[in-house]
Symmetry: C2
Subunit: 791 residues, 2 copies
């Protein structure tokens, strides 16, 4: 290592020497985690018995992650900063874990893995080992809110964490492979939504190490000029740290971080002290360093350091190659562990002194642990927002519009810890009541034709489900609350993100030191049954199917049939922790069923018999008509009404399901009804005609173990949809009142013959519908204007 | 309209006048579609009875789409070009349909909607009307390969269409809302994968009309300098057409398109004639024009044209507002229809002459209809690639590596109509045999450390599932063939895209003039059971669940258990048309079961009894052990082996399922087995222990109507996964041989007691496994080395 010759160095020679030693220590611990079972300080010659039988882990990105971490430590100490470290590149855990161990965070949370040789042995052994820790910066990793297992979300998480944390600096390392993904490519525009006055700063660090698993990366191969143009086009001022000579790189990085910190301070001062309201060109760093930096340069005659061969384990097949084993030993010793650790295997004090202490350590930054005690929201009473429902099925209401007034109430009381997210659809989804509390975040210039925009708005709209979801994840993972409203069909855009978040929550629930973070709340409106005008691409209720496969401890699905049940459910979800709550609710005017008292009781039970709509009076009914979802509920009650007129003696029991998880057996889901309770409601021996919001098979999948399952006939969305009318959508999928009534006639034994006339009438009605809709483009007036009170 | 005063106009005054008239005609027809039921030429005063009862459609983007279309027509005629028009903005159909009608394509494909007043009436009425046509450029729309219902995919589709179509110009209109999505943001880098010599050109036209549904767009609000920097950073040379004065805009657009065409020609000449190999800065256009251009400027005192209020229908509530009706009439008349259409309602000949003719019309471009008779692939015989399997369960093989050799054979014979796509994982997925036929597409500079890169490579790798999927969609929709290989867990990244493509195929199958395009083939490898080293984020088999909800006419799912079945299945899929084929197969060394003759027979049947592994000899067995997927098959056979040693008298039938759709009832899926055939294989009254690759509930969802369903016990992935060993993954989810054998003992009545000792042995074996894996980080040798021949 040569000392840089520049006359005005940021680092003194001693500082440089210490920094480099600390980095070597982190690299040493990283290689140790990937390779070693024993002999952690290499106090005896390395033999096969010291090495793991299966070599798992990724070296390539690690030295760069370590380099950044070490230098951020310096910056934190220099300026007493609060920094969150987001490691975007996949498989970065060897580096992050090495650093949180060196700074003492790891041993504080996992006392078993203490300082010293025994702790090192455990640290090494547990990595990617059965019963140990993952190769990603998972929930097990102190200081992490971002796993890096699926690539592309680091920068959205970083922005989510920075919102409303004015004193926080989020250092976000972006892998150059990760940068090719769609979500990351869109994330650069997060800087258009960051308020320099009230939010923290995000420092993107694009780590160009040149290669992915097997290919060069797109960004690393651009000319400097083209890359620079692109990053400036993203609205940043890029600084470059490029090279492979450690001493020169240390000086460059230290100087650059000082510059970046000065820029950020100046930006924040301008916004906070001078009151300037304009979007600044936030600084960012491009770190161009070799993949697998400081690792083996050549293995078996092929170049490794600086190439794709350094991606995973640069030296493999150790049991077949004594030469590889020798190279591994040489590699480990190149870090000169004896200079780094004392006899007991403890990091030398002059190096340990380089790390920040207490909560300034990035492994212990409070925000990374849900804010260390996420604040509860201050709630208005949701009952105060009741939509007056004097009796069931006579007044119309737009459920989400009512919800919007409640969300306004929540927002007003929680201005700095609650945000609403949506892809340009808050008004379309009729939640625009919230604008009375706060506008939409907008840091760009405004025009007179704009509405409800505000630089410090709490409603975040961008036409990217990825950004909405990622921002909300970052926001809740750092202890704040929010809700993401989305067109139902397009929530599939973030299937993968939500799935990964559910996994994170599932794991994090089992880690004692992790505080329970607020739930991820997703409101699906503009749903399949009311996308008649937008057509088939906007019709897909399959997100629920995806969610029910995820951990039952985490996933909740609610289908409130009207406004007051929606209020009750949302209040419950916003109070909850560590769940993914999916709420499906309509935005169009629709009949309302329950007053607030009944709604709250019904939602607490999750499902229940609607006695006012039933006429079985506690007897065994002839048929159970069950429904879940607003449109299925409407059609079911309209069918009940038809049937009761046609067959006054027919005993119908109406069951409404709000909490879909109640249908599952208790052993499958904590909300699952006991078999006895289920059988009590659904019976075991009469036909159940179940009108369901989504794909009908899901109800079978949830209930196939129930005694009455063989009597269950589910109507739902079968993929039949196009541009048509609302009621025709239900007809196309046999979910309409006429098909439901026909199903009853066909399934209730004594109606098989007795119902022949009514069957003919219903079929005639369907024919009338078909003719009318084609002729007028509209639904039959008696269908559109039907109300329960008539029956 | 004023005539532009520039001295060197591209357009003569007459040309300008005609172009503008043609554009007015397109705008008139667009407004007509949104509003009118009758009175299409406004020959009588407009009344409510002429207007649709439900106003559906989107005006905002339409005049811009029309403007671009009209000018592309001019360019096509001027230079005899083959141009494909991709309309990215949502709800663009009123514009696209208006244009394909004006040029005659529409009436040619839909003779019922002919030229003249009657045809116009039908054209207007059918739009967004029950039984009519959608508001997006759907499969029903001539010339379209891209719906625009879900935003974000236009540019990937455009590149997919341009690959290997050297004479094609793909004009891709990108909405400024769409540009905020992740997939679109990543798509800009498609230009790094386009070969100027052998591919066509893509002309991105970024349409900045300023607003989305309710918000300004990010890109439209950037300063000119920042936007220009961004687009140059994307590698383009941007040209700007900006304004709202039609005459000036026509001249600007015509001149700009000439410039752009000259640039493209020069680029292609340099590459094709001069043989220059360097990535050019392809031109692109920024069209900045008012949202809802030429529509009502003010409605109810509020500005509409140029604002978000122009997004959907600028004039609504006509039945309540005579003023709105009057404004609508004024708006329609502002296009002066009497100058555009003759007495019969036919476009005046001097205007009709502006459109190209025959296949030069964008509505009739052959590539937009699957290449107008997609060529079949020239196949090598897949049997020639057989992996020798002398007897079941003794030799190891890497199934995907064997497939790689077959794909090489396919590629060699079909160099210009077959591509392989994958996110940096072709080698990781062990398909690297193909590199012997062709390298990986790479237009950037190369380094000595690169491997298998080539400017005209046929293997496309970029770390974005969105780009891989979108490119393949565009490639197959224009008549060519391909396969996308992906880590199983990360295919969820494109859930939504694949779902939309399945919908497109489902609709397009029903349109007589659409040629059957090649299937979308997805190979999922690096699957859930072999992601032990990558941990929980890489483990998710839920994509299958998503797919089985899609149209049964379109979706196929295959789980070949070994190399020869994988060859047979892939050959079948590559030959097929208009399906989404999902193949799940392993890449790790694993036991092989079937020789090629047996494999082909087994795959043709879709599922079958493996007689060589069964000992029921045609009798009713005591238990059916079913399996689907490579790892479940291995564990099932290992369990069978254990059980046969322990209980020589126990009659076991082994059933393997390759084609998952066979399990469904025949009425649900064309591949579904008849009940008789199903019962014959699975029996109706003995326990069925089913080891399944994915979430176990899916098997219940597919089979709940089968007679034997109550005897069915499914083992599969229950979400239990982490960083561990391969066998431990199966143990964590009760899918391992020991749990399967225990399930048999617990379910077969006569083993309840007789099996007590064996049950204890199996539990002891599980305990031994747990201890061993924690101690060594490896699996038990007798588990790892097990082969069927031993039994």
């Amino acid at each position: 290592m040569t000392t840089p010759t520049t006359s005005r160095s940021t680092l003194s020679p001693t500082e440089l020497q210490h920094l480099d030693a600390y980095w070597r220590a982190a690299n040493y611990l990283s290689v140790g985690q990937i390779y070693l079972l024993d002999n952690p300080l290499l106090r005896e010659p390395l033999t096969l018995k010291h090495v793991k039988p299966r070599l798992l882990g990724h070296w390539g990105t690690t030295p760069g992650l370590n380099f950044i971490y070490v230098h951020l430590n310096r910056l934190i100490k220099e300026h007493d900063l609060s920094v969150l470290y987001v490691a975007g590149p996949g498989h970065g855990a060897p580096g992050v874990v090495a650093n949180v161990y060196l700074e003492g965070s790891y041993s504080e949370l996992y006392p078993d893995v203490g300082p010293g040789e025994d702790g090192l042995r455990k640290l090494f052994r547990q990595f990617s080992f059965p019963g140990g820790v993952p190769s990603h910066a998972a929930p097990q990793t102190p200081g992490s809110i971002h796993e890096g297992g699926e690539l592309g979300f680091s920068l959205t998480h970083a922005y989510g964490a920075a919102f409303d944390h004015p004193d926080l600096l989020v250092a976000c390392v972006i892998g150059d492979g990760e940068a090719e993904t769609g979500p990351l490519a869109a994330s650069w525009h997060g800087n258009k939504f960051l308020n320099a006055r009230t939010d923290g700063a995000v420092l993107p660090i694009l780590h160009l190490n040149g290669y992915k698993i097997a290919n060069p990366t797109v960004l690393a191969r651009l000319s400097h000029a083209e890359l620079d143009t692109l990053l400036r086009g993203y609205g940043h001022t890029p600084y470059y740290v490029e090279g492979d000579e450690p001493a020169l790189m240390h000086e460059q990085m230290a100087r650059t971080l000082e510059q970046v910190y000065a820029d950020i301070s100046a930006i924040q001062r301008r916004a906070r002290v001078d009151g300037v309201q304009e979007r600044p060109a936030w600084p960012m760093i491009v770190l161009r360093s070799p993949k697998g930096w400081t690792g083996p340069k050549v293995v078996d005659g092929l170049p490794v350091e600086g190439t794709w061969r350094a991606h995973q384990v640069p030296l493999a097949g150790l049991s077949d190659s004594p030469e590889h084993l020798r190279q591994l030993e040489e590699w480990l010793l190149s870090y000169r562990p004896e200079e780094l650790f004392d006899k007991a295997g403890v990091l030398r004090p002059e190096l340990a002194a380089l790390a920040p202490s207490g909560e300034r350590r990035m492994g212990m930054n409070p925000v990374s642990n849900g804010g260390l005690m996420p604040r509860d929201l201050d709630f208005p009473d949701f009952r105060d927002y009741e939509l007056a429902v004097p009796q069931p099925g006579v007044v119309d209401g737009e459920s989400t519009r009512v919800l919007g007034t409640f969300l306004k109430g929540v927002m007003e009381r929680n201005m700095n810890i609650f945000r609403l997210f949506g892809p340009d659809e808050t008004a379309s989804n009729r939640l625009d009541g919230v604008y009375a509390a706060s506008g939409k975040t907008w840091e760009e210039p405004q025009l007179s034709t704009d509405l409800h925009l505000s630089p410090d708005g709490r409603v975040m709209e961008v036409l990217s489900e990825h950004l909405c979801e990622g921002w909300l994840e970052g926001y809740t993972l750092t202890g704040r609350h929010g809700l993401f409203s989305c067109y139902e069909a397009f929530i599939h855009v973030v299937d993968s993100m939500v799935g990964q978040h559910a996994k994170w929550l599932g794991t994090s629930r089992e880690i004692s030191w992790r505080r329970p973070v607020p739930s991820l709340n997703i409101l699906l409106t503009s749903h399949v049954w009311r996308q008649d005008h937008n057509g088939s691409s906007h019709q897909d209720p399959g997100f629920i199917d995806l969610m029910v496969n995820k951990a039952p401890a985490v996933v909740r699905v609610y289908l409130p049939p009207d406004a007051n049940t929606l209020l009750s459910v949302t209040d419950h979800c916003l109070r909850s922790r560590e769940y993914v709550n999916v709420i499906v609710a309509g935005k169009q005017p629709e009949l309302q069923w329950l007053n607030m008292a009944d709604a709250a009781k019904h939602c607490a039970a999750g499902l229940g018999v609607w006695a006012w709509a039933s006429n079985d009076r506690g007897d065994t009914p002839d048929v159970v008509m069950a429904c879940a979802g607003d449109v299925p509920t409407l059609e079911t009650l309209a069918a009940v009404s038809l049937l009761r007129k046609a067959f006054p003696e027919l005993k119908i029991r109406v069951v409404n399901v709000v909490d879909l998880m109640t249908l599952q057996p208790q052993i499958e889901h904590p909300h699952g009804l006991s078999d006895a309770a289920f059988d009590e409601v659904f019976t075991t021996d009469v036909p159940i005609i179940f009108a369901y919001h989504g794909y009908p098979w899901l109800i079978h999948r949830l209930t196939y173990r129930r005694a009455g399952h063989r009597n269950l006939h589910v109507h739902g969305y079968k993929g039949e949809g196009t541009t048509t009318t609302p009621f025709d959508m239900t007809v196309l999928n046999d979910l309409d009142r006429f098909h439901l009534a026909l199903a009853v006639i066909n399934r209730v034994p004594h109606l098989k013959d007795a119902g022949a006339d009514v069957r003919q009438q219903l079929l005639a009605k369907l024919a009338e519908h078909h003719a009318y809709v084609r002729a007028t483009g509209d639904d039959l007036p008696d269908v559109k204007n039907w109300r329960w009170a008539e029956s």
